[in-house]
Symmetry: C2
Subunit: 501 residues, 2 copies
């Protein structure tokens, strides 16, 4: 079986390399590409997507997988080789259902749509995006239809990112979480609001970038295998296990945007950097699901980056970097400012407590768009109505309304958002177990030491890449299924203390 396995790996490596070459083109498009490059880039991305897909569905892979079945069955389930064959088969069987030409069309459309969003958002011009978004919804429905037998049209799309999850499961999980969150939000927002004026001063771009780099380096993001660049909407991308890059953006009049975006993306990147190098070039060389990926970005951003321990170490450094802006602002005031809970309009700036309400709005909208119960042309107004109902606020325009997030304009409608809330839930589950194993972690963090936590996450989560499904991994790490309790316990404890509930 040595020969077949080697042959399989060589096929997989080519698909991987073509996909990652496509990622380089995507990264460049979103960081450095001049406007004139857009048309050809859409074509080139589409071509690479098609070729990657063609490689992934090469019948030779199917044949090798068949030949390797007895070998796979002779191995322990969690051995590297059994896992490689199993995960490859799962992805192969999914991939062969989608024609390469469709993938090319989809990617070409996405690239066009993304570039239109870059221009249209600052101009508050939703009309320019409307036909593009209509086509995206249409393409997403077509994509779902390659997987007949679904319960909800979004299910196949959700399954791409969070394997095994369904719209109905998520609807009931989110409803449950919502019932628990609303009283917490109400209790907090009936208190006087925290004073976050210190975050809203002028913080020069270069200094913000410097500080964010200093922080992510200290957390453990390896710059020998990564780098940070500027973009419109921060993301992480991996070109290989040796090159996992993050992006950020800077608002000079708000300190939180760049720093927490950088930490968030560094969380994603540390997950990818922690994968075992032996998995390079295979389907195991990536995070296992959107939910587990977000669990790590949200862990580093919030459970670490918005903790008191973290700021005990970093606040004096931040004050030294911005002495004028932070003169006379105590650690307590600053800690309360970065944890201010409030109903708000912008997802990426939302606090830990209300964040999921933003996600639920988007999740419901995705399902309604796919069902046809909401039309693309009615979306901006529906957005405002829904924000008014859930948050008691209305955005002044579509720029900070429906156009604020890149997802639907630079990717798919359906399956794009549930991962964030799953991430909040899973992140708290894992973090609770890390703290139980190493109660010294908070104290270490207050001294700028993050190795114990980082190493625990590598050992228990990161190293496995996609070897286990999210469900398997959660079972393996916590001994039980997905549960919202650790997350709620965390929120009640932290915000109970902060807001003296």
């Amino acid at each position: 079986m040595e020969k077949q396995l080697k042959e399989l790996k060589s096929h997989l490596m080519e698909a991987y390399d073509l996909g990652r070459a496509g990622a380089v083109l995507g990264w460049d498009e979103m960081t450095y590409m001049p406007p004139g490059g857009a048309a050809a880039r859409a074509r080139q991305s589409a071509l690479l997507a098609r070729l990657t897909h063609e490689k992934s569905i090469d019948p030779a892979i199917g044949k090798l997988l068949d030949e390797l079945r007895p070998y796979e069955e002779s191995l322990p389930y969690d051995s590297d080789n059994a896992s490689l064959i199993r995960v490859t088969r799962r992805e192969y069987e999914r991939a062969i259902k989608v024609p390469p030409q469709f993938m090319a069309e989809l990617y070409e459309h996405i690239s066009k749509s993304y570039n239109a969003w870059v221009t249209a958002r600052p101009e508050n011009n939703y009309k320019a995006l409307e036909p593009l978004l209509e086509r995206t919804v249409d393409l997403c429905r077509q994509l779902a239809d390659f997987f007949p037998g679904y319960e909800h049209c979004a299910d196949p799309l959700i399954d791409f990112n969070d394997y095994g999850m369904k719209a109905t499961t998520l609807r009931s999980l989110f409803a449950h979480l919502r019932r628990e969150l609303i009283p917490i939000v109400q209790a907090i927002t009936s208190q006087p609001p925290a004073d976050d004026a210190c975050l809203k001063l002028h913080y020069p771009k270069a200094d913000q970038l410097d500080f964010s780099m200093e922080v992510v380096k200290q957390l453990g993001y390896d710059l020998n295998r990564g780098r940070q660049d500027l973009t419109h909407h921060p993301f992480t991308t991996s070109f290989s296990l040796g090159d996992v890059r993050i992006t950020t953006r800077v608002n000079e009049d708000f300190l939180g945007d760049c720093l927490f975006s950088s930490i968030h993306e560094a969380g994603h990147a540390m997950y990818e950097q922690g994968i075992r190098m032996e998995f390079e070039g295979t389907p195991l060389a990536g995070g296992t699901s959107a939910g587990v990926h977000e669990s790590q970005s949200r862990t580093w951003e919030n459970l670490v980056g918005r903790s008191r321990s973290f700021w005990e170490f970093f606040y004096p450094k931040l004050q030294a970097k911005f002495p004028d802006q932070l003169k006379g602002i105590s650690l307590d005031t600053f800690y309360q400012a970065v944890n201010k809970v409030q109903r708000s309009l912008i997802r990426t700036e939302a606090d830990e407590v209300t964040y999921n309400l933003h996600i639920m709005i988007r999740f419901d909208i995705e399902l309604a768009l796919l069902e046809g119960n909401l039309l693309v042309r009615d979306l901006p107004e529906y957005w405002h109505v829904r924000y008014n109902a859930d948050m008691g606020m209305r955005a002044p325009d579509d720029r900070d309304g429906v156009m604020q997030d890149v997802h639907w304009f630079g990717g798919l409608v359906g399956g794009s958002f549930q991962g964030y809330t799953l991430g909040n839930i899973i992140g708290a589950q894992f973090f609770t177990h890390a703290l139980a194993a190493h109660p010294e972690i908070p104290n270490e963090m207050s001294q700028g030491k993050f190795e114990t936590l980082h190493k625990w996450l590598i050992d228990n989560v990161y190293q496995h890449g996609s070897k286990f499904t999210a469900t398997e991994l959660i079972e393996k790490v916590t001994g039980g299924p997905l549960s919202i309790e650790p997350y709620l316990t965390y929120l009640r404890s932290k915000y109970g203390e902060l807001y003296k509930l």
Copy 2:
């Protein structure tokens, strides 16, 4: 024939797009890639090179070219379609001689070798590069051997970059030029040297970059379809006719490096940006030869950027940017400084007169390495001996000796350098004709207006892309063959005045 032509274009577009995707990977490797990305990038570049080559030699292209022959013969030679078919056939017939697997090996090796050079050069560690360069020479000989019947082993390699040129032709051309240049160099260097102390002060990086951007924009480099980034060894790269990028580097203790590199690369880029958009995605969408390409980089760098007219406009702006460094330095002194002629060690910093002597050294070495008359292990010492003979100087180390140029370490040995000297020659031929047609050009330049020259170059040279060979283009523009006379006339006139010969 409409159908076949459309089909041909669609094949060519895929090869083009794969090649340009590979260029994006190469650009990233040389500008932003962290060290950890090198191994996978070598593999990915090799894969794209192989796939590009496979697409280029698709037998379907050969079949279409056969079917299109009667159509081609029915069209005027210089019609777009006849030219497309003719140039495609020439490239196809060359490409089918090289196996795709060889191309993949070559590119993988080049990527490894480039990354080794990035590390080894600052460490002055030629030993680390020796085995890699030996393999490069070996691969270049193998590449030449796919084209049996050559007169000199370098001929097929020269032909890649300067179609129709041969080692013997170049040897005699260079010998002729050398005979004319040496007395000029001797006459100048027997004068007191120009005072270039003003260039060797501290010029902060950010200000140098700002100024270089201001200059290239003014010259006509379109930033809507381009951008400038930092690298180790400046280059221009094209991802499409809508995205042609330049790179530069900064020496904070020498003003000339960044500025003249930027202008040089902008010259290459303006050539590519000037190609007719209808040629996008075809073999016509690129400069026609290394020599013609260098003619344009050298024209903008030297004939324009080192002219008195140019500095009449830009010197006051430069002084405003660097008031401390240039206080009390007259335009005359500055103009003499940027045109200081001296025997020197570094090619990229050499003046217009001695520049070709650097090229001739490299050209001779390339031939000797390929012939086997010079061994890679003897190269560093031979370099010193040769510089001593030709320049009367010996580099203090290999860093500024044989390792100074990226070409042999990030590309081929053979055919890499003749283009620069051909460029100096051709550039002067074209420029002389532009001046004859528009005697107002120097006066316009002194007012910061470069449109007349730029437009003449677009109309007469750039727009054609690769439609005509270098020989055809020179004939078309000048009415005669390649000639060193305009170049010598230019040098004698400019330097005669500068050094009062």
